[in-house]
């Protein structure tokens, strides 16, 4: 029997999540932003599995499965959008467009 407290598992998830967030905010290249997004999702998954492991029930893993499915869907669409973006602006700079500004 392992004796790892659940808090350590959760903290690991938190650390991975924070690293992904830092990468998201730090990088200008859209590709890196998507990679950071994956890291964040992975971190959240770690937390879920840790919680499920504490109870010894499969629910945590099932949640991770769903997260995986969502991540896969998001990645495919996101990369397709990235390719579109590249075709349009010929660069992957996320700061090059500000059309969300609304004015």
């Amino acid at each position: 029997m392992t004796a790892i407290p659940m808090s350590h598992g959760l903290i690991l998830g938190g650390v991975l999540f924070a690293l992904g967030l830092a990468g998201l905010l730090m990088r200008r290249n859209l590709l890196f932003i998507l990679i950071s997004l994956e890291i964040m999702l992975n971190g959240a998954g770690v937390a879920f599995v840790a919680a499920g492991s504490r109870w010894g029930q499969p629910d945590g893993q099932i949640m991770f499965l769903f997260i995986l499915a969502a991540a896969a869907a998001e990645v495919s669409v996101g990369l397709a959008l990235l390719l579109r973006f590249y075709r349009l602006h010929n660069s992957l700079d996320a700061d090059s467009t500000s059309e969300m500004r609304g004015r």
């Binding site: 967030l21 998201l24 905010l25 200008r28 932003i33 996320a94 700061d95 467009t97 500000s98 059309e99 969300m100 500004r101 609304g102 004015r103």
Partner: protein, 621 residues
């Protein structure tokens, strides 16, 4: 029939409302406006007839419509009071208004504000009738304010020209000074005597206040202040000449026949109060005498036809004030009646002349019009003779002689006042004939481009007839008014000369004035030019032309300091507060709008920061 009294002011009110709210064609507007005044006149005629045939017991008839309010012991009613005084005034006002409305249907036909004009005019007539029929001073004040409002609206009728708006504002502000005095007087009367009902007021005043008491004198002087403002007497007369900026029917109705006599009516109505305050009454006489002289001199120098008539109005109302001041109450009202007829006619005639010559106002550019506008000439001449006082034939002579006699022989009369009034007759004759000779005789300088129609001639003819025959009813008039306005409430002053002699002297003065005017303006105009171009003559001319410098004085004394004060206070702290609120909003906007960058990472950072704050709040608060 007397119960129909309420219709007299109500019909014009209703028609004013109708014309203001709904749209009608020009013809419909004319019919409604003139029709309402005609209806009001007919009702007043019916009321008059039934009053004369069966006079009520107390010589007065009160019709209470409803209680206005009941607060703190003050409970005025909307009530109409009919006695000989108000009867005469209502009859004259309604009838003259009707004639002027008829005239205006054609005079104003080309104006785009046709309906607006008649709405205002009807509202004015309604307010004036309310004023005359008011049973208590508060309702009278309502009518007072109403006529002031309509005067302002109608003077500035052609509002697109800023000068007209200025003239309207001047009229309103100057009369406002008088109105404030009047209101303070009302406060004082209510505070001391506990009511504003005129009849009760007069009773209580004569019971509680001895003759010459301070309270009576103060109240009387305050009421006099209001009358002075509305009737354009010294020192508040400066607004009337400028009020000529309004259309001529307005000048005829408001500033000659009706509104400016509201002050006279007020004093006549409350004459018991003035009898209790001899000093105030003396003040009235002095004001009247001074005004009639000043305005007479000013009228001599004016070159604008309507301004001559304006100063003439001021001067004639000075006569009425003089009559009130010496205690000759019925003479003042009689002069009001004849003055309404011939002054309205003079203005209507002036309107015909001005319009026919294409808006030419300068009498020195007119001339020889008696051949081109004969009807206008004859009616104008009759009115002018009535104004100047051609004896025996014209009504004005009767009323003016009555006033002269009263100035000499009435309770507070004196020879000095009589002499002043006589000088006034000379001046009146002079400026009237000057006006007539310059406009209608001599060489024709301007061409007649437009001829008036029947709607404009008929009122002139009717008024001309009245200017002649109205004088003959002097005897019945005095007897009729005797119950309300007794002549000489006290001892008859022993006069040095008889009434006939006074009339004869007045007639001679009249002829003298006519002759001098004939010489100066018809036969040898060079004399007039010579008089005017000499240094003393020129200076006098300019002084009188500018209304004895009063406009200049008021400008320096009041207008400029106030304007300076307003300029200095332009950015006062209250404005700064409101501007500051707007400024803070602007700053907040500019700060917050910088967060809207449109950049993806910025928004993600925003979400992260927000979640930090949120969790911190949940954890620690």
């Amino acid at each position: 029939m007397l119960e129909l009294l309420w219709l007299v002011p109500a019909i014009p009110f209703a028609s004013a409302l109708l014309l203001a709210v709904l749209r009608f064609s020009r013809k419909a507007v004319a019919w409604i406006a003139v029709g309402s005044i005609a209806a009001s006149s007919i009702v007043s005629l019916l009321v008059t007839v039934s009053y004369l045939l069966a006079p009520p017991a107390t010589n007065s008839y009160t019709q209470v419509l409803w209680r206005w309010f009941d607060v703190g012991g003050l409970h005025p009613d909307i009530a109409l009071y009919l006695d000989p005084l108000s009867l005469i005034m209502v009859a004259v006002v309604a009838f003259v208004s009707f004639l002027i409305h008829l005239y205006s249907t054609e005079f104003m036909i080309k104006d785009e504000g046709y309906a607006r004009f008649f709405a205002y005019m009807n509202l004015f007539v309604a307010s004036m009738l309310t004023l005359l029929l008011a049973d208590n001073l508060l309702l009278l004040y309502l009518g007072w304010e109403g006529v002031g409002l309509c005067s302002y609206l109608l003077i500035g009728f052609w509002y697109r020209d800023a000068e007209n708006g200025l003239a309207g504002r001047k009229a309103f502000i100057v009369t406002r000074v008088g109105d404030t005095a009047l209101v303070i007087g009302l406060f004082l009367l209510f505070y001391e005597l506990g009511t504003l009902n005129i009849q009760e007021l007069m009773q209580r005043a004569s019971q509680h206040w001895p003759i010459g008491s301070a309270a009576a004198t103060t109240a009387a002087l305050l009421l006099l202040g209001g009358a002075v403002g509305k009737s354009a007497q010294l020192p508040l007369q400066t607004w009337l000449p400028d009020a000529m900026a309004g259309p001529t029917p307005v000048s005829a109705l408001i500033h000659a026949a009706t509104m400016v006599t509201a002050g006279v009516y007020l004093i006549a109505r409350t004459h018991i109060l003035f009898s209790l305050a001899p000093q105030a009454q003396f003040a009235i006489a002095v004001i009247g005498a001074a005004t009639l002289l000043m305005a007479g001199f000013s009228a001599l120098t004016q070159w604008d036809l309507k301004r001559v008539l304006a100063y003439s109005t001021i001067s004639q109302i000075g006569y009425m004030f003089l009559a009130l001041g010496v205690g000759a109450w019925p003479a003042a009202i009689f002069h009001f009646m004849t003055h309404a007829f011939f002054k309205a006619l003079l203005f209507l005639g002036a309107g015909i002349v001005i319009q026919s010559l294409g808006e030419e106002h300068n009498i020195f550019r007119m001339g020889g019009l008696r051949k081109q506008l004969p009807i206008a000439f004859w009616t104008f001449l009759i009115a002018g003779l009535s104004l100047a006082g051609l004896p025996l034939v014209t009504a004005g002579a009767f009323s003016k002689d009555w006033i002269l006699w009263g100035a000499l022989s009435a309770t507070h009369g004196s020879a000095a006042l009589w002499a002043v009034a006589l000088v006034g007759v000379l001046l009146t004759s002079l400026y009237t004939f000057r006006m007539i000779f310059l406009v209608f005789f001599g060489q024709a300088q301007a061409k007649v481009t437009r001829r008036p129609g029947n709607a404009m001639y008929i009122p002139c003819l009717v008024l001309a007839l009245l200017s002649i025959v109205a004088g003959y009813v002097q005897g019945p008039f005095a007897r009729f008014l005797d119950t309300v306005l007794p002549w000489n409430a006290g001892v008859i002053h022993a006069a040095p000369i008889t009434e006939i002699t006074s009339e004869g002297i007045a007639a001679l003065v009249f002829l003298l004035g006519a002759y001098v005017a004939y010489i100066l303006f018809l036969r040898k105009p060079a004399y007039a030019v010579m008089l005017g171009s000499s240094s003393a003559g020129g200076a006098l001319h300019r002084f009188w032309l500018s209304d004895w410098g009063m406009d200049w004085l008021y400008d320096r004394l009041f207008v400029r300091p106030l304007v300076w004060l307003a300029q200095v206070n332009k950015n006062d702290f209250i404005d700064a507060f409101y501007a500051g609120v707007a400024r803070i909003n602007e700053i907040a906007w500019s700060v917050l709008s910088r967060t809207e960058t449109g950049k993806l990472r910025w928004y993600a950072a925003g979400i992260a920061a927000g979640s930090i704050v949120f969790i911190a709040v949940v954890l620690f608060l």
